[in-house]
């Protein structure tokens, strides 16, 4: 009944499906005859009224409902009338188990919904035209749907809460909050981080953090999944576009941008395209038009990450298997998701040695731009401004970590989300889909498809395997078209293995070794993996990829709103299709990466200079809030 649509294990105890309900065996999986607005329908036993109506194309408005989240039934916008019941029922939570007659738009229903919308608006501070969600706000849409043309019950104008701008990643404006609690359910149930909760009663109810602390002072991992699911403007990412515009307007500044694959696969949605259309090359043109001096491909540094992280893994394996070094920790975890990194720093601080020391592609690129690129192009690194287009709100925090200044400067100046860049482009009057395609700039040019698939859950693992397997055996991974299918898909935790056979002489210690790997996405699944690790159940695993966001980067907290499993799947399709179309699909074959190692990082992957520039360390944060 009260299952979380995606995973019952993520459902809070109070809403967990009950196993004790005396449902006659015959009824499970059976059909119930219902009447909706006078017409007969067959509904699967136990399906909610909302599910059935959506299936039948009958519109019911919703607000607190989100397909990714547990059911709440608290906004009451979706109420419907059921014959014989005194009160209206929330369609989103009401399971159909008997033949019932439902009215979805009776007078009572319309009046009640209109009242609810009027009430929500009466308590919602501000006007639509001064709101960043103007045009993409579920409350605004409802007001239009119900013909709201006045503030029937007044309209709050004075602010009650200070805007919380403490975080590098998130901005919380609780005067825009309508208490749908999607953020709470996202944080507690979907991500199992648990930073946000409702406090107080009645009209003093608000969503807040532990002891009302600024969001930067609690254990928020900055994943921004709450932003993606907020129906209004209560949550947004910390927008650096004003500063970026200033840098662009400043003739003394050389402003470069790196674009990650996930934003490219999603930004079209901001311009009215259906999900799943990659805008990579159109975006290159648009970015130059709006004033960026150079446009680089983050996939270049994703390839670099594979070289470093893959080498690190092979070195760990050697130290462990050959040298018997007890200080070496396996399995090795990926470290490119800054939400995941902060999650493990807070929740499993004693296991940081399992994290790869390799920086994320964003940060590697920043360090390379302000050293190698500055040197090659003869530009003083102090005049270079590096912007990173990311699908991610946590990247903003990451680039502000104090340890991310290895170039001698702030390696990445600004993390910019997909939504924010779309806004910058809109301001210039450019309609992105109409742009002529163009290539990335040299000296980093085109990257490999391996770097590109970092955007999807499992992508880092697939990319790493394409390279590591080949380094060790001298042959390509034994999968058709290099598509390592066990790495793909959206299952929460996946596990697979590849056997290393007929290895090169220098890797003889890996002969016959079954390389075991796991992939998890969403921190709730990361928790499952970590708890297994803590219990000692993952000792035979070598490498684990974890992404903080459901679906991986393509479902990141900086991506276009709305999000859903269907949308994320479309974005993944776009990314894998682009990979398949690229001439180079293995990181180690990226000629620009090879050039970088020849000319700059001359002591090779995991060498001295790469350790200085491309690797990092982590902080034991713990989960206790001072």
């Amino acid at each position: 009944m009260h299952t979380c649509p995606t995973d019952p294990h993520r459902t809070p105890v109070s809403n967990q499906p009950h196993t004790v309900r005396p449902v006659p065996q015959g009824e499970i999986g059976s059909q119930v005859h219902v009447e909706i607005n006078g017409k007969p329908y067959k509904a699967p036993f136990g399906a909610t009224i909302l599910e059935v109506c959506r299936e039948m194309g009958i519109h019911i408005p919703t607000l607190c409902y989100h397909k990714d989240l547990c059911l709440a039934g608290l906004c009451r916008v979706c109420v419907v009338e059921i014959e014989g019941m005194r009160t209206l029922q929330a369609a989103c939570t009401f399971p159909i188990t008997n033949p019932i007659k439902i009215l979805t738009a009776s007078e009572k229903v319309r009046k009640a919904r209109r009242h609810i919308v009027d009430l929500l608006i009466s308590d919602h501070v501000g006007e639509c035209y001064s709101c960043h969600r103007n045009g993409n706000c579920e409350l605004q849409s409802l007001a239009k749907e119900y013909g709201v043309d006045s503030y029937r019950f007044g309209h709050r104008t004075e602010r009650r809460y200070e805007i919380d701008r403490s975080s590098y990643s998130l901005v919380r404006d609780m005067d825009k909050c309508i208490l749908c609690r999607r953020c709470v359910r996202t944080c507690i149930d979907l991500q199992e981080v648990g930073v946000l909760e409702a406090v107080n009663r009645g009209d003093r109810t608000k969503i807040t953090t532990f002891m009302d602390k600024p969001i930067a002072e609690v254990i928020c991992i900055n994943c921004g999944q709450c932003i993606n699911r907020c129906p209004t403007a209560a949550l947004k990412a910390n927008d650096p576009s004003d500063e970026i515009w200033r840098a662009i307007e400043d003739p003394t500044k050389h402003v470069v941008i790196q674009t990650a694959p996930s934003p490219r696969a999603a930004i079209g949605e901001e311009f009215g395209l259906p999900p799943g259309r990659s805008m990579t090359r159109e975006l290159n043109t648009a970015l130059r038009l709006i004033g960026f001096d150079k446009v680089f491909d983050t996939n270049f540094s994703a390839d670099l990450t594979i070289m470093e992280e893959g080498t690190e893994l092979l070195l760990r394996l050697k130290k462990k298997l050959v040298d018997g070094d007890p200080t070496v920790k396996l399995p090795q975890f990926t470290s490119c998701s800054p939400g995941w990194v902060k999650y493990i720093e807070h929740f499993y601080p004693d296991y940081l040695d399992h994290l790869s020391t390799a920086k994320s592609p964003q940060q590697m690129f920043g360090a390379v731009i302000k050293t190698f690129y500055a040197q090659e192009s003869g530009i003083d690194p102090k005049d270079i401004v590096t912007v990173a287009l990311m699908p991610c709100s946590a990247k903003k925090f990451e680039c502000n970590r104090p340890e991310m200044n290895d170039s001698g400067f702030k390696d990445v100046d600004y993390g910019l989300t997909t939504r924010e860049l779309a806004q910058m482009i809109r301001e210039t009057g450019i309609h992105l889909p109409e742009m002529a395609p163009s290539n990335f700039d040299e000296p980093f040019g085109e990257a490999s498809g391996a770097g590109l698939i970092f955007g999807a859950t499992g992508g880092v693992m697939e990319a790493a395997l394409r390279t590591a397997y080949e380094i060790v055996t001298g042959r390509e991974v034994p999968f058709k078209n290099l598509d390592i299918t066990p790495c793909r898909g959206f299952e929460g935790v996946r596990q697979a293995s590849v056997k290393l056979e007929k290895v090169k002489p220098e890797w003889s210690f890996l002969e016959g070794v079954e390389l075991r790997f796991m992939i998890a996405h969403g921190t709730a699944n990361a928790k499952t993996v970590m708890d297994a690790l803590v219990r000692g159940e993952l000792d035979d695993i070598h490498f684990i990829e974890i992404m903080a966001c459901p679906g991986g980067c393509l479902g990141g907290g900086g991506q276009p709103i709305p999000t859903s499993q269907e949308i994320r799947a479309k974005r993944a399709e776009a990314i894998y299709a682009e990979d398949a179309s690229l001439p180079i699909r293995k990181s180690h074959e990226n000629p620009h990466v090879q050039y970088l190692y020849e000319r700059f990082l001359t002591d090779g992957p995991c060498g001295h200079l790469s350790h200085k520039l491309l690797h990092t360390h982590y902080t034991k944060r713990g989960k206790y809030i001072a």
């Binding site: 009950h18 004790v20 309900r21 009430l119 009209d203």
Partner: protein, 390 residues
């Protein structure tokens, strides 16, 4: 305090042989007898107790719970306090009987935080019952074991709503759950749970002691037995009274010395206001239902002030979860204040009545569904009086 004139509950001396009788019966028979008795929930909603028990008894689970709702929070209600204080065994034995009937082994008394002072005495009673083998392992030599623990609420009115109470028991914020599923299937910790009022359990003990036929002679066809009412306000003899269902408001007022009242609020803040013209109405589930609160208003009372008090209560006590209740009650309160300032037009009053009607049907739980009741009933019955005074 007036003498407690006994009828059904108050004529027992606090203990009965209800438990012993019940344990000699089969579980099914107890459920059938409770159904047959016509006992309805005494918290105010009046759900048939036997039906509730039958559903819980039919649920298949390793563990079931019996919860006694002693979160007596309705303004003007203080009858459960008397039962817990003076008729403790009737209540606890009623819980044991319920446990036996539905197949539960655990009972929880959810005691409102303000009744903490009773905790030691109640714990003593439980210890005494255990020592007398009326609680614990193999009760009274039967093969039925059952124990009761006491848990304290923390002062939220909404926790008297059974699903919010269960949330609170589980350590969560006190907020109503969606239903279905109902607690009889998915209650405390996901187990089948019955939540009954203190008075309901006391009635169960008496029914088991005296028999169904004896019990059925009291009350009306649709509301069997008696009702404890807590009478307060402008009357000579406030206190807790046991009256048969069907007693008219007028008769009750005579009993308590409140004949000169101009209105009586029945059912507390969430109840309705009965004006003098309606004093012939009777207290029963089919007419004017109450969980026990009866507040008498004398001629001199300003009914708008009375209403404002109730609306302030709901604004304060809404759990803040669902929109109609969280935001509707402040709008109604604001309307009351507008009326007080002479700023409320008849059109706007109608808007507020409409809003109240939506709140009654669209709110998630009984709190929000009943919170517009005083607004609607007081402003309907006393509209002329209220508006003429401004």
């Amino acid at each position: 305090m007036p003498s407690r004139k006994g009828i059904v509950l108050f004529d027992t001396k606090g203990s009965s042989n209800g438990l012993a009788n019940a344990l000699k019966k089969t579980r099914q028979d107890i459920v059938m007898e409770i159904r047959e008795s016509g006992l309805r929930g005494r918290g105010g909603a009046g759900f048939p107790t036997g039906t509730k028990w039958m559903l819980a008894a039919a649920a298949i689970a390793d563990r079931k719970y019996v919860v006694c709702n002693a979160d007596e929070g309705e303004p003007g209600t203080f009858k459960d306090r008397v039962l817990l204080d003076e008729y403790t065994d009737l209540v606890f034995e009623g819980m044991v009987i319920a446990g036996y009937a539905i197949g539960a082994t655990h009972g929880i008394l959810y005691l409102r935080g303000e009744y903490r002072y009773m905790l030691a005495k109640l714990e003593d009673a439980l210890r005494r019952m255990r020592s007398e083998n009326r609680l614990g392992e193999r009760i009274l030599g039967s093969d039925f074991s059952f124990d009761i623990t006491i848990r304290l609420g923390s002062g939220a009115y909404v926790c008297g709503e059974e699903t919010a109470l269960i949330e609170s028991l589980e350590g969560h914020r006190g907020e109503a759950r969606n239903r279905p599923p109902f607690p009889v299937n998915t209650g405390y910790l996901g187990c089948p749970t019955i939540v009954n009022n203190v008075e309901t359990f006391a009635n169960v003990s008496v029914i088991m002691a005296q028999g169904v036929e004896w019990y059925k002679q009291y009350g009306t066809d649709k509301s069997r037995g008696t009702k404890l009412v807590s009478v307060s306000g402008d009357c000579e003899r406030p206190g807790v009274y046991e009256i048969p269902f069907g007693t008219t408001v007028k008769e009750l007022l005579k009993l308590v010395g409140g004949e000169n009242a101009k209105a009586v609020q029945i059912g507390g803040a969430s109840g309705i206001c009965v004006p003098r013209a309606d004093f012939h109405r009777s207290i029963a589930f089919e007419d004017v239902a109450t969980g026990g609160s009866v507040i008498v208003f004398g001629e001199h009372r300003d009914m708008l002030h009375v209403l404002k008090n109730f609306m302030e209560f709901f604004v304060e006590e809404s759990c803040g979860q669902c929109t109609p209740c969280r935001l509707g009650n402040p709008v109604l309160l604001d309307g009351v204040e507008k009326i007080g300032r002479g700023e409320c037009s008849m059109n706007y009053l109608q808007e507020l009545f409409d809003l109240g009607a939506s709140m009654q049907i669209a709110s998630k739980c009984g709190l929000g569904q009943s919170s517009p009741n005083p607004f609607i009933s007081i402003l309907t019955h006393f509209q002329d009086e209220i508006f003429s005074q401004r």
